[in-house]
Amino acid sequence: MYEIVIASGKGGTGKTSLTRAFAELARPAVLVDCDVDAANLHLITKHRVIEEHDFYGGKRASINMERCVVCGICVDNCRFDAIKMIPDMKYSFGERVEVDPLACEGCGLCARLCQLDAVDFHEVKNGQWYLSETELGPFLHARLGTAESNSGRLVTLLRNRSREIAESKGLDMILIDGPPGIGCPTIATLTNASYLLIVTEPSLSAIHDMERLADLAAHFGIGTGICLNKFDINEKMGLQVERFAASRNIPILGRIPYDNAFTTAQLQGTSYMQVGSHAGIGIIKNIWQEVRMNAVSGGSGLKRRFAI
């Protein structure tokens, strides 16, 4: 089974549009949107939700003021400054104790230290995830709750489900739209991935972000290729991308010119493959061929093979 991740470090380089285009060429494959903070793949993929689940990713404390005697042990021990004593004459001690739900990381130390069982330490719903049907294959996506945390755990859940679904349906390809950044959701996306396609563009920021993502992929020993999008925006910076790729022995699998049709596709809620130019579609087909070949052969400069 091959798990191919499309990511970029920097946002807005074209990850989702490309994932969607590849999905048409890879069908049937399992599609996964791992950008659970700001998911977009569902906006350009006709789908019908067949399963909807709540996601409980962690716990959070709250104070039961009927039991609390405002001793302050929870306040003193909370490393996240999440618990505060607030003057409040409604309570017999003249103060109440309150947990800031945004600051609470759910470590539970307060609940363990409280002698009076006044800390309620409960699971919290951090979001929802969905299994949908599409013409391209099964599609897993999610919506992290507003201002919530635990996106890494939600990503891991989606990826585990995607593997089960691929197995049960006899599909050997999982196509993953990755999150921006290099932190926990990206790490969760890349863990055990077969191949990473970095979508970058010829700008100093994108190159800087690509380098950090390439470092992360190397750290995990994941075969990597680069797709240079909007290459004609600045050919000079494009050369810098090429130099970086050469210095790391990462192949550039294709170059895509700046093309308004990507926006057109988005506005119509569809794939570039439906509205793009003949030439553009050809370029994407070639890139997909390369990605597929590299993923199957274990990629270039690779430390291990990934036939899972």
């Binding site: 920097k10 946002g11 807005g12 977009n40 945390s149 506005l267 809620g269």
Partner: protein, 288 residues
């Protein structure tokens, strides 16, 4: 509240809409107007502000978090530390305590609750904070080491180290989850940068919901305002959101950006636009 300078955060649900462009140019314009201002890059996973505001004589200070250190001679391998850890950062296997440092949130539960007092703490570096000056503008930014999972501790340290009274322009990471919340939660005003596409709209709605739940006041910038359709404008109108500025797509700007140049230096008209933006934000803050 203590006498803190005004904090203005620049954020967006969607990545690549122009947060860093707005944040760096806004900070530079304010500095040139003679205001004491700091640019603070809180996109610690992918910091880019220093590419546009390269600080002279940059200083890098290592940032560490505290993680448990088990004193094996005192430990009787009872397993309580592993049991209390909500983040699965500790495991006890036979007579070995295993630590997974990148999972540790540094809550201290294992140390406080160890019956043998066998756990101390040790510092573990997670990245660095850069600081310096670019043409009189203070530039600071966090940079997480590659492989580190948790951005919020770095952002917290960065914000604590910001000098008190100056105005701060915070460059936020994309998204709507914990790293963003940490960056914008105590901002006096938030500028949301979006673009008029379905992705821009979807992520703008998410960001607006986040800021409403954080009870922040905010305005919207529509970047590349002529590339898509009118749905973002309609949404802003229906929700009563203040559109601070619209910037049409300009290839000259895309080129300046791609080479790490400030747009206010690439074209005079942008200096005026950014100055108007600054005034619009100050008017908004005055209203708050």
């Amino acid at each position: 509240m203590n006498s803190r300078g005004v904090h203005i955060a620049v954020a967006s649900g969607k990545g690549g809409t122009g947060k860093t462009t707005i944040a760096t140019n806004l900070a530079a314009v304010m500095s040139r107007e003679g205001l004491g201002v700091i640019y603070a890059d809180c996109d610690v996973e992918e910091p880019n502000g220093h590419l546009f505001l390269p600080p002279e004589s940059e200083r890098k200070d290592e940032v560490s978090v505290m993680i448990p250190h088990v004193l094996e001679e005192k430990c009787d391998f009872c397993g309580i530390c592993a049991e209390v850890c909500q983040f699965n950062a500790l495991a006890v296997l036979g007579s070995k305590v295993m630590l997974f440092p990148s999972l540790c949130h540094g809550c201290g539960a294992c140390m406080v609750l160890c019956p043998k007092h066998a756990i101390h703490e040790a510092a573990r570096p997670i990245g660095f904070i850069r600081s310096g000056r670019f043409k009189g503008l203070s530039v600071m930014g966090g940079s997480l080491n590659v492989g580190e999972a948790q951005a919020p501790p770095m952002t917290k340290v960065l914000k604590k180290r910001l000098p008190g009274e100056l105005t701060v322009i915070i460059d936020s990471p994309p998204g709507t989850s914990c790293p963003v919340v940490e960056a914008v939660r105590d901002a006096d005003y938030v500028v949301l940068v979006t673009e008029p596409t379905p992705f821009g709209l979807n992520d703008l709605e998410l960001a607006v919901n986040m800021l409403r739940s954080l009870r922040r006041s905010f305005g919207v910038i529509i970047n590349r305002s002529d590339i898509g359709d009118a749905r973002v404008s309609e949404y802003c109108r229906n929700e009563g959101l203040h559109v601070l500025m619209e910037l049409p797509f300009d290839r000259k700007i895309a080129e300046a950006y791609s080479e790490g140049k400030l747009i206010i230096d690439a074209d005079n008209s942008y200096r005026e636009k950014l100055r108007s933006l600054m005034q619009a934000i100050y008017t908004e803050i005055g209203h708050v």
